[in-house]
């Protein structure tokens, strides 16, 4: 099994490990709920070095990414980031990712761990006719420092001024790449750098009593934040419009061609499903795979959990587009009432529903 350069540190901190797509990663260090609340109320540090970093360099780097991503990097300024998906020719989602633009000829993409082979093959296949080179940065790691106190904390620890680094932008300081992005719904930063440098930052954070956060809390935080997990809330069988991601398919520049553009134009008109938030009104816990019933129509919970912040069970569900207000979920064959909601549930420490 793969391990990140911080495996030994996780072990010393008492992590319980889980096999996450072939990576032995910490699921929690004692209590997932405490870790979750640390990020909502204070701050926490995550090792997310299992994710993949691809750099794109060349005179046609922007042209290439405008073709392979559904969202349009053409509208992004230098030193800013953009969320997007990549799809196959049918408009089915291969992965979601964040792209960072240094300039028209230099970009960085961070994509999921579980999809590495498919994403790499996708880029390699499509890049051939562009003057652009793909570099998989397997010697770099990623730390996420998330929570309302992350800005002041990083500033004082690393002696940096982050006031110029607004949401979805990034700075490069010495050998560190620091972006104001994350997967928690809180203010926060992701730091990419060489293992040795990141290990120093990790150790510094731990010495300052910043809580290490496992993948368990990462998952409950992102569900509260209404953010999709690829492979769970969406797969290659799903298009962006039924995955609450219609907003990342950018048709504004009619001159721009991109993979599955024609197909996605049709899907946008004919799409029959949507991804929504669900809140369980009765006792129990929502889980992925549970059926949603309303009259004779059916949907499905894609992610379900207990929300440590709301102290209620919440989830994401794919339902027909005309389902709103309320429905039933089948838990162990019992129909229980759920409220259908728009996402997110929680943003920056506030309950949004």
């Amino acid at each position: 099994m793969n391990r990140t350069f911080l495996y030994g540190s996780h072990k010393i901190l008492g992590a319980k490990f889980v096999n996450f797509s072939g990576w032995e990663m910490p699921i929690h260090y004692g209590s997932q709920i405490n870790e979750h609340n640390c990020v909502r109320n204070d701050l926490g540090i995550f090792d997310v070095s299992h994710m993949n970093i691809f750099d794109f360099e060349g005179t046609e780097a922007q042209k290439f990414l405008r073709y392979v991503l559904t969202n349009d990097v053409g509208k992004v300024e230098n030193s800013c980031a953009l969320y997007s998906v990549i799809t196959n020719e049918k408009g089915g989602i291969i992965d979601d990712l964040i792209v960072y633009k240094f300039n028209n000829e230099n970009f960085r993409v961070v994509s999921n761990c579980s999809t590495f082979e498919n994403v790499k093959a996708f880029f390699e296949h499509n890049i051939k006719r562009f003057d652009c080179e793909l570099i998989h940065q397997s010697n770099l790691g990623i730390l996420a420092i998330q929570g309302p106190k992350s800005e002041t904390s990083i500033e004082s620890m690393l002696g940096l001024d982050l006031s110029g680094c607004k949401g979805f932008s990034f700075i490069v300081k010495n050998s560190l790449f620091i972006s104001r992005t994350g997967y928690t719904g809180e203010d926060g930063f992701e730091i990419i750098g060489e293992f040795e440098e990141l290990k120093k930052i990790w150790d510094l954070c731990i010495s300052k009593n910043i809580s290490p956060i496992g993948l368990g809390a990462r998952d409950t935080l992102r569900v509260e934040a209404g953010m999709n997990l690829n492979g769970t809330d969406m797969t290659i069988e799903n298009n962006p419009f039924e995955s609450n991601l219609g907003w990342v398919v950018d048709f504004n520049d009619i001159e721009r061609d991109f993979i599955a553009k024609k197909r996605l134009t049709e899907i946008k008109k004919t799409n029959q499903f949507k991804l929504v938030g669900v809140l369980l009104k009765e006792k129990g816990i929502l889980r992925g795979g549970q059926k949603i019933i309303k009259g004779n129509i059916e949907g499905e919970i894609t992610s379900g959990t207990f929300s440590p912040f709301m102290k209620k069970s919440i989830g994401l569900a794919r339902v027909p587009i005309d389902v709103d207000d309320s429905a039933d979920v089948l838990i162990r064959n019992k129909p229980l009432n759920v409220k259908i909601l728009s996402l997110p549930f929680v943003r920056k420490g506030k309950i949004m529903i």
Binding site: K16, I27, H28, S31, Q32, I33, G216, D219, T220, K283, G284, I285, R287, T305, F306, P308, S313, R332
Partner: protein
């Protein structure tokens, strides 16, 4: 880590029983609660429910997953730990005391099958062998 009381008997599905006259109290082991993580919901049987050993009698859900609790012996539910409905975290903090699930009335004949269950020491060494 919670001390494992020596008067309990254990199953390989990680339930424990404590014999109390003609009844047994059922819960899940410290190892089981630790594997589950933070427990956030418990579904208990109803008083009067009758089970055959091996039946699914309760459900325990942590933040990450749902697990069944199987009844180790055949019998009738005579008491349930209702406190768990409001305080499911007791399963984590006190798996052998306050975190018990339900109490079954069992016949002498059925109680005999408890002899085949693991003692606390046997259970702990069985766990060690599996890790």
């Amino acid at each position: 880590m919670n001390e494992t009381p020596s008067d309990l008997k254990f199953l390989d599905t990680h339930e424990w029983i404590k014999i109390d006259d003609d009844a047994v109290i059922v819960g899940i082991s410290d190892h089981a609660q630790s594997e589950l993580g933070d427990v956030v919901f418990v579904e208990l049987p109803a008083i009067g429910d009758e089970f055959v050993s091996g039946d699914e009698a309760a459900v325990v859900e942590s933040v990450k997953a749902a697990s069944e609790v199987y009844t180790p012996l055949s019998g009738e539910v005579i008491e349930v730990n209702e406190v768990l409905e409001e305080n499911p975290e007791l399963v984590n903090t006190s798996p052998y005391e306050d975190g018990w699930f339900f109490k079954l009335k069992v016949t002498d004949e059925n109680l005999g099958s408890a002899d085949n269950m693991m003692t606390a020491d046997e259970y702990l060494s069985w766990l060690d062998g599996n890790n």
